[in-house]
Each structure stands twice: as C-alpha cells, then as structure tokens.
Amino acid sequence: MSIRIGKAAEAPPFQEAARHALEDSQLRHNMRHATHVIRNKRNKIVGELPDWEQLRATASATKAHVMRYLDLYLEKFEANVTKAGGHVHWASDADEARQIIRGLVEQHGGKEVIKVKTMTSEEIELNPELAAHGITPYETDLAELIIQLGEDFSSHFVVPALHINHLQIRQIFKRKMPLEQMGLPDLGEKPPELAEAARRYLREKFLRVKIGVSGANFAVAETGSLVVVESEGNGRMCLTLPDVLISLVGIEKVVPTFQDLEVFFNMLARSATGERMSPYVSVWTAVNPNDGPKEFHVVLLDNGRTRVLEDEEGRQALHCIRCAACLNACPVYGRTGGHAYGAVYPGPIGAILMPQLQALEHSQSLPYASSLCGACYEACPVKINIPEVLIHLRSELVQGKQARIGGRLSRENIGMKMMSRVFQNESRLRRAHKLARLGQGPFKADGVVSSMPGFSAWTRSRDLPAIPKQSFREWWHERQREKRA
C-alpha cells in the first residue's frame, strides 16, 4: 500500500521551496517575530518546573510503552467507547477515513459541518472531499478560519496562520466576510476588532450547524474518553452544540489511563504556547443523554502509522503530541516557514514524520532540511531524538541510492566513498593533503579561496580558508625530528 500525505509527493524539493521563501521579506519578518515570541514564553514557563527533565522522561516512557502495546490499548479504547454508547470506525488510510466521515454526514442529511482544529483532517484532505460532495466545512479555530478564508495552507500545527500578520488577516476578512451584514462595515486593524469579526462570523454557525468534526489530543483507553486542548473555546462549541460529533483520531494518540494525562497536561500547553494550562481542556466520553451531542463517532486512523511502528528507530516520531515546540526552536523553520516543507506536518518533526508516513521517495529532501543543531530535541517534551531519526532516514536514502547504478555514480557517492578510503590509510591521507593543496593553489588569494570549480554552493556566499603550507601532522613529525636531533 502506497500512502501519500496530501500534496507532499508533488511538492518541490525543500531546498528549492526554501530559496523562494527566504526571499519573502514579509514572511521572514513574521516568522522571526512569531517564533521568537512563542519560544521565549515557552522557555520562561518551562523554566518554572524544577522536575521538567523527569516529566520528559516519564512522558517518553509512557509513549514508548503505548507503542509497544498499541494493539491492546486500541482494543480497550474501542470497547470502552462502545460501552459508553459511541461508535468506533477503523480507517486504514486517508481514502477510507474520508469515505467514513462523508458517509456519516450524508446519512444525517448534513449540508454543513463545523470543525474543531484538527491536523488529521488536513492529513486526509477532508475539506476538499466534503466540498466536492456538496457539504460545506466551516473551520472554527480562528487561525484555521483565516487559512480557509484566505485559501491558504497551514504552516504550523499549533498556530496555522503564523506566517501572516494582523494586517494581512484584515485584508482576508475584508475580502471574504459579509462585514456589512455583520454590522462591521469599517473593520479596523486592531487584533480585538479582528477577533470580534471572527466571533460574529462564527457564532451564527455554531448555533445553526448540526454536525461537528474534531480531532483529539489524547484518547484514554481506560475510559474511552477523548481530549481536546485549545485556547479559544470555539472547539468546545463544536464539541457540545451539534447533535452529531465525529472525531478523527490517529491511532498513536491513545494513552493507557486517565492519570497519564497529568504528565501530558503539564507539558503540552507549556511547550505549545508557553502557558501553564490551556484555557480550554475538553474531555468527553461518548454521549450523555442530558448534555451535548446525541450521537458520537470516532474514526481511528492508521494512514501509514503501523508501518512507522515497524521501524524501531523511527517509531519515536509517533510519540509526538503536536506541541510544535520543535518548530518554534528550529533555526531552519524559523527562516523558511512551514510551506517550504510542502507537508501537512512541517518543521523538524515533519521532516521525520512525513518521510515515514508516506514512502520515503515522496519526501527525499526533508531528512536533509536540518543542520542537526539539536534545538528540536532539546525542546521536545517527549524527548524525540529528532536528529538521530533524521540521520537514520538519511542512511536509508543513501542505501536506496547506492542500490541504483545512477546513485552509485553520483558525485556525492563517489566523493564520500573516496574520502572514506583516504581516511583508512595514512599514506593515502598524506598524498590527498598534497593533492588538495596543489589543486587549491591557482584559486588562492589573500589567504582564502573565493571561487573554485565544484565548490560554488559554498563560495557563492562564503570564502574558504586556504590550505596552509604545513599540515599538523607534518609539523608534528618535523618537531619530533628536531627534538631527536
């Protein structure tokens, strides 16, 4: 089965998309500002906890345990949801998940749905599917609404509209909202005015639409409960007002017990938004006859996850709780923004998740979209060793390349093989030193090389130090000879 996540397979390679993104001065400013603000808040609020490292270790161990016994916990979750009056559906891929959800909406004669912010729905491209069948999806998370109205793509999975600023948001609202009808003919630039416009636009939908679609941050096996963590309360509107609620949940979201949430609640908001607790944490267990939706469906989504599970080294990518702390910490993401990754899940976690969820060949450039600086690993609340997995994926790509004749003949492969051979023999190394010095000679000026054939990717913007006359080992041996003399 070949899994494809969104349009990632057709996206240009990262380095190409990044080149264009880097030239967008507005984007660069927005990215720098937003990632720094969140990062600083996160550092401050995480710094309050003296046992942060212990929490990380516990969270990591819990996730590793769940991955080891995922089948058992999923069955337990299913049994408990069913017992509480909910319906559980299993979707092996995006196509199946889309059909299940559309089928449920159509079964209830629904022409509209209201949505809680959910990354899994973006992963399976639910909105285009619904729209193609005459069902209008309304995003109700403010940032997702901005993205939807702007016909844009999310660039961050906690703050999807991170790449645009309030002035750009105002333009989108002016273009797409019936502001006259809403009683806001002169929409101002201030964030509270923009929030008021969004509130009026959405309120009417909350009260009218009868079907809600959500994701979940956690699924508790012990009780069959789902959890949504959010900042605005719009999610809670969608979770409580409609008659029918459909939740699309990745199978890796399950945790064993209600008590396990204690650790994750302590870490998620701190890591994601730099808050001690998120303003709205909604927990529900199927249906309650006196309150909330009368019918509840949960769609458990695989879509490549069980294949990731097979790789003992790569499977830690499934531990992710989508806090996006790694995005905010990443010096690459902070400059290119999320769109350059051409992926539903961008940034460092996306660079290890996307190539594993879908076949590696559909996202070959992503494992290299990192300087391996380690800021992501340091920020990750569940201790996913992202640099280690990036290297692991790079090695899979290299081995794939070496299995093909074209790959074996590539400049990189030949160069790497040659250097490995040179480093396996001292006299070869000495000869290589002489050769390098000789080869560089004609390009040397003022102690540097400013351009040299084959080195343009470096020398286009940086000088190279010239190779000195004497290597360290030559100096050392000369010194030893002098000492003996």
Binding site: I391, D463, I467
Partner: protein, 247 residues
Amino acid sequence: MLVSLFVACYNDLLFPQTGRAVVKVLERLGHTVEFRSAQTCCGQMHYNTGYIRESQPLLRRFVDTFRDAEVVCAPSSSCVAMIRDHYPKLAREMNDSRLVADVDQLVSRVFEFSEFLVKKLGVEDVGAYYPHRVTYHPACHSLRGLKLGDIPYRLLQKVRSLQLIELPEKEECCGFGGTFSIKNADTSQAMLADKVRTILDTEAELCIATDNSCLMHIFGSLHRGRTGVKTAHIAEVLASTEGEPFA
C-alpha cells in the same frame, strides 16, 4: 599525564595552528602530549550525511588507534559529540562484540579540549594573555551535545587582558551543519547572515568557539564581507602568553 591528541581531520589540513595551540597549552601545564599518526577522521561527516557504512571503518580505525591511550583530547566539540553520542550505537550495528566493548571502554576517556582542562585537569587559569575584545559562539555540539555549559566562559574569563562580550542570540546555530551548508546552501546562508550580524553587533575583534568547522563557516562570511573580524579556536586564545603571543 600522557595526553593523546586527536587533532581531527579538518584541523590537520586546514587549521594546524589549533593542534599546535593544544600542544602548547598542555605542555605548559606540565603534561606530555603524543600524536598517534595513524589517526585520521572520526567519521562524523559520513555518518551525519547518511553514509553509515562508510563511517564504520573510520570508527574501527579510531578505536584501533586509541584503544590503549590513557586519555584522548580533541579540539573539536563535534567530533567528540560524534564519538560520545554515536559510537556506542554505531559499534553495536557492526555486530562485533569486542569492538563494542572497546568503544564502551574508550568513549569515557575521550574529552573535548576545554572540557578536558576544566573537568579532567581541574584548571581554569592556564596562564594566558590575550589583549583583544572577543565574543564567544557556543557551537551546537558543545552546547546541546557535550553540554559544556559555562566551561569555555570560565576559561576565557581567566585570560588576562581579554575582554569578553556576550554574543546576542548565541545559542542559534550558525547554519554550517556539515553537508547542510552545501545541500541547503540558501537556508544555511540565511542562518549565517544572522549569526554574523550578532557578532558584528558586539564590536568584537574576534569570534571564538570550540569548533573550527563552525568557525570556518563564520569566517567565510566575515571575510567575504570584509568586516575585519577574525575567528580563532579557544585553544589558540589559551595558548597565547604575554611573552609568546600565539599566531
């Protein structure tokens, strides 16, 4: 103490003065330095680029070269991070139990140069004199890999006549990342531009680090822009004395 120097392949060829500085500092402190000339490269570049199989013989060679060394000292935080963080795992993938045992024995005796001075030798004042205004860039592998913390600062603060200026946003990567600087040259350059801007903001004469690979990257831009700001490895600063400035 008999200290075995692992100079690192790129220092050997491109930055021999760093190796000479390490020798000078350690000898000044009364230790004997040896250089085992069978040494070549730790395999970091191959490993990080995904050429794991090509890095394996280099691990074996490193272990063969230094197996019986009392301590190994290397003026490169990224090479020491490669050895400490990846050798144990890499050796296990090679299915050679003797090699695994050797690696486990050896790794705890390999030190980065500044860490060796402060943690192993317990020295902070090495008697250096360096009459310059400098700033310090904590290379990613020294900061997040080896977790050197304030070790390099403690050494620099004891250098006479040295003026140390705090580098703004110092924990940001310079954008080198080995082959990242080639494969993603534009993003790498964008990161470097910001690093260089913060260095220039300090009005320092030199930028100091524990790793010449990052410094090569930073120097490349400082020189291209004719900023007049230079780079130097921390060993070169510590090797300088009033009587014998190190250059």
